[in-house]
């Protein structure tokens, strides 16, 4: 319990990094976790090379796990290229989140990453790996 809501999770939840909206974003997608009603929209602005993430933000509402993990994701992907992010294994994010998660909460934790990958897939044609076991039930619009 204390593990689940450890200090760093609560910090990201209460002070989310990159929370907001980018108007006319280069890449954007919205996702919903129908199990709990978590909603996340992610906006990406690329740098001059059209590949490197210059700015990334998210909006939406949801549980502490989904909001904190998406906030952590914002910090992780800043300055990386679309290809790098497309290849980013979910384990990297889960390691950052650093708490044991049940299958239901895993979906909360990975919502933001799935939405980001979809956004990049749409904008840049980066591959969307089929290995997302925890994401298969997500209703990605």
């Amino acid at each position: 319990m204390e593990d689940l809501y450890r200090e760093v999770i609560l910090d990201h939840y209460k002070n989310p990094r990159g929370h907001g909206v980018i108007d006319d974003a280069d890449a954007q997608a919205e996702g919903l976790n129908p199990l709990c009603g978590d909603e996340v929209t992610i906006y990406v602005q690329f740098g001059e090379d059209g590949e490197t993430v210059d700015e990334v933000k998210f909006s939406g509402r949801g549980c502490a796990i989904s909001q904190a993990s998406t906030s952590m994701l914002m910090e992780m992907v800043q300055g990386r290229t679309a290809t790098e992010i497309a290849e980013l294994p979910k384990e990297d994010l889960l390691e950052e989140v650093g708490i044991p998660l049940t299958p239901v909460r895993l979906k909360c934790a990975l919502l933001g990453l799935g939405v980001l990958k979809v956004a990049l897939h749409r904008a840049k044609g980066t591959p969307l790996p089929a290995e997302w076991a925890g994401l298969d039930e997500l209703d990605l619009k």
């Binding site: 319990m1 809501y5 129908p34 709990c36 549980c63 909460r105």
Partner: protein
């Protein structure tokens, strides 16, 4: 707690029938407050199923041997128990299904596809579980009928005044007896009278109602009524549909296959009699027998006593939740509410609330409760829901409120 001086229902005693409460959850006694999602099972039901498998199991209505006779007798015995449980005029009007959801799908397909068309109106309420919403929405679309919603007010009660605005040829009115989300007890008898004035059929989803309230299909004057076993102390995998014989007889079958036929030839197949016309394939036999035992168990406890007791629990829960601070509850006042309390804790997502409560051994539901249109109406993505049954004790509600204090401390 001051629920009642002399309860007609002895929850503490009944609770001892439920082996699930003998374990610890995260090192704490189990407080199970999710009976609206599914109920726990008493030893009497578990023993019935085990004994049936050990002494009387065979396929039903098939063999001429003794075991098959015993199995058939037990299976048909459950039908008679179900008939009595809902005071249906005849056992042949009681059809076993795999769930209340399948019961409603049966009506929506088998009655709806042949009786609905453009210009017709299908009316369901804003309070419906997806199981009494989505099938009607889908069949209305398939047949070109109009799908309309009867709205609720801010307390989660149906706005019967809005019936005046429903025009067109209403053919179906579908409503639940009790809302699984808010615990609203709906005026189904009034809806049925309104439906019948227009020549419409009244379909009642009693999945949430039947386990907790007396159901009398003749008094409700409905045309179809669906309920299930798993919310009623029985096993999952079996439900029931009651329908008026004259309607059921005119309906085409729903599932097709073995047992539901009279004769099968290459040119043509004719259908069996009620209720077998609607029971294709091997049914969940032992589960149905367990369902019968569950109805007997609930009847022995007394459905009226259960309803009264749960209403007291709901009043107590509302009182205790109000003490927590920052808790917003949804739904009608206790006197018009079943044993269900939906709420939100200010600034804390229901998933997080439920997670903190779980660490305290308190199981509640967090989510949209299969009622997304209702959640939209309430302006929330999800709620927490605590729901009660005949084994719920006030101590569990006390532990719920203690858990909420903890959630507020951690996440607030």
């Amino acid at each position: 707690m001051a629920v009642t001086a002399r309860p007609a229902l002895d929850a503490q005693k009944l609770r001892a029938d439920f082996p699930i409460f003998e374990q610890k959850i995260h090192g704490k006694p189990l407080a199970y407050l999710d009976s609206a999602a599914s109920s726990q099972k008493p030893r009497q039901v578990l023993d019935t199923i085990r004994e049936f498998y050990e002494t009387s199991y065979a396929n039903v209505h098939r063999g001429v041997y003794l075991l098959s006779e015993r199995a058939t007798e037990a299976y048909e015995g459950a039908r008679e128990i179900a008939r009595e449980f809902i005071n249906a005029p005849a056992a042949r009007e009681v059809i076993f299904t795999r769930s209340a959801t399948e019961s409603i799908n049966l009506v929506a397909y088998a009655w709806g596809l042949d009786n609905l068309g453009p210009g017709d109106v299908v009316l369901v309420t804003e309070l419906e579980h997806h199981s009494n919403f989505v099938p009607w929405q889908y069949i209305a679309k398939r047949t070109g009928a109009e799908f309309r919603l009867l709205p609720i007010d801010d307390h989660g009660e149906l706005q019967l005044d809005a019936l005046g605005e429903i025009d067109g040829q209403v053919k179906v009115v579908a409503a639940n007896l009790v809302s699984n989300s808010l615990g609203t007890i709906n005026p189904v008898t009034k809806l049925a009278a309104w439906a019948h004035e227009r020549g419409a059929i009244m379909v009642v989803d009693a999945a949430q109602g039947a386990p907790h309230h007396r159901v009398d299909v003749q008094e409700l004057d409905c045309d179809f009524l669906a309920f299930s076993s798993h919310k009623l102390c029985g096993p999952s995998g079996v439900g029931a549909l009651w329908g008026r014989a004259e309607l059921l007889e005119r309906m085409a079958p729903f599932n097709l296959g073995g047992h539901m036929i009279r004769s099968v030839k290459a040119e043509e197949t004719t259908w069996g009699e009620l209720p077998y016309k609607f029971e294709a394939g091997t049914m969940p036999i032992a589960e149905t027998v367990g369902f019968g035992a569950a109805m007997n168990y609930v009847s022995a406890a007394g459905v009226e006593a259960i309803a009264e007791y749960e209403s007291e629990l709901a009043a107590y829960a509302l009182e205790r939740l109000a003490e927590v601070g920052g808790v917003l509850t949804y739904g009608p006042p206790p006197e018009r509410r079943a044993g269900i309390v939906s709420f939100n804790v200010e600034g804390i997502h229901p998933h997080d609330v439920a997670q903190v409560l779980d660490s305290e051994g308190v199981a509640i539901r967090a989510g949209h409760h299969c009622c997304q249109p209702l959640m939209k109406r309430l302006g929330v993505a999800a709620t927490n829901r605590a729901s009660f049954y005949l084994y719920t004790v006030p101590d569990e509600i006390d532990r719920l409120t203690e858990g909420l204090h903890k959630a507020r401390k951690i996440l607030g």
